[in-house]
């Protein structure tokens, strides 16, 4: 499939796995220290694997002689702490990542149901609102791959399920692969279409 993600990654002592993921939400589940976040950071280009290959929608991001910097990968990453820019309003945060002129930041805020906080700074947002702004910001950047590093972990289970379902629907509509990392085994089933279990930096058999 054209927009799938295929990768193999080796980071000495931390991670060794190979996966092919079609569009839609995949859930990467495993205990702390299993290498889940390391895997996302490597896919985003924020840490350099010792060896491997990352091919996204037919484009090689990493491989022999190739190492695209994170700003050219079109891989959006939502951090656990969300990393909203504190000196910008919610709207400015979303605008920051827009690559294509036809994309409207306000539309994405509305789509994530936080249009009413557009002019507010992150420090004044509730946990749920901040999560939605961070998701809107990532999605507005027209990513070819969306990575979510436990972004819902601070929310109560009901809100977590609600937001996860919304993101899952958007990802399905955009037809891009997405990886959601969680250590909540019980959540994994409801969060995505397929589950990948990781333990000690490798796939769990």
């Amino acid at each position: 499939m054209a927009s799938e993600l295929a990768f193999s990654l080796r980071i000495a002592g931390r991670l060794e796995l190979a996966l092919t993921l079609p569009p839609g939400m995949s859930v990467l589940v495993g205990p702390s220290g299993a290498g889940k976040s390391t895997c996302l950071l490597a896919l985003a280009g924020l840490i350099r694997p010792d060896a491997g290959e990352i091919v996204l929608a037919g484009r090689t991001l990493f491989g022999p002689g190739i190492d695209e910097p994170p700003w050219r990968r079109r891989v959006a990453l939502v951090f656990q702490n969300l990393a909203l820019f504190p000196h910008m309003t919610a709207l400015e945060n979303v605008r920051f990542g827009i690559r294509e002129p036809k994309v409207d930041a306000r539309d994405w805020l509305a789509r994530m149901r936080v249009a009413h906080v557009a002019e507010r700074r992150p420090a004044t947002l509730s946990g749920g609102e901040a999560q939605r702004v961070a998701l809107a910001r990532a999605l507005a950047s027209s990513p070819a791959l969306l990575l979510l590093d436990e972004p819902f972990s601070a929310l109560d289970p009901a809100l977590r399920a609600e937001l996860a379902a919304e993101v899952r629907a958007v990802v399905a509509q955009l037809a891009i692969p997405a990886i959601l990392v969680t250590h909540h085994r019980e959540d994994a089933q409801s969060l995505g279409e397929r589950i990948v279990r990781l333990r000690d930096g490798a796939l769990e058999r």
């Binding site: 985003a44 280009g45 924020l46 910097p69 994170p70 700003w71 050219r72 990968r73 079109r74 891989v75 959006a76 990453l77 951090f79 702490n81 990393a83 820019f85 504190p86 000196h87 920051f96 990542g97 690559r99 910001r137 990532a138 950047s141």
Partner: protein, 221 residues
Amino acid sequence: MNWSPIWLSLEVAFSATLLAGVVGVALAAWLSRARFWGRELIDVLITAPMVVPPTVLGYVLLRMLGRGSTLGRGFEALTGGSIAFSRTGAIVAASVAALPFVLKNARVAFEDVDARLIAAAHTLGAGPVRTFFRIRLPVARAGVAAGLALGFARSLGEFGITLMLAGNLPGRTQTGALAVYDAVQAGRDDDARGMALLMTALAIAILYVVNKLTARKAHGF
């Protein structure tokens, strides 16, 4: 009271802060992220003017930039003027004195910026330059501004390096600090007192601004 040394001090301090600001902020931004051998050595060399006697520093600069030096001759060939015993020399002296204050404060401020903000900016398509101007500098602005203010205050009060490199030429390189010394030597006590009061007031005002910039909000319940 002769105001020209005060004006010259302000003029030199503004130019020096600009020069030290550009160099110091750029270096701080680089040192706070780069990982290489010798990183701390660069920091130490630039911070040294905080502890090396100003006259020693002035002497070194005079040997490096004076008319007999390669750099000094190069500068003269390019501009027609000399660094030593000129207003340019006073600005260089004040810049060297201000640089450590800018570098130290800005580096701490840049190191305090959450690495995830920088990473997030990168994944949103911003390269290092855009990330610097849109994220790192605005988030670190209070610390950077404090460094600039302290650097300005330090260059305003510069004495030893200026005396060695630029001399004490009334109307040309005699800054406020040098003029106070001159006035005391010449027994012009009224002049010395007036300038001393004014420069002290300026320094205290700047420190007050620095405190305001760096004060963290107290957390209540």
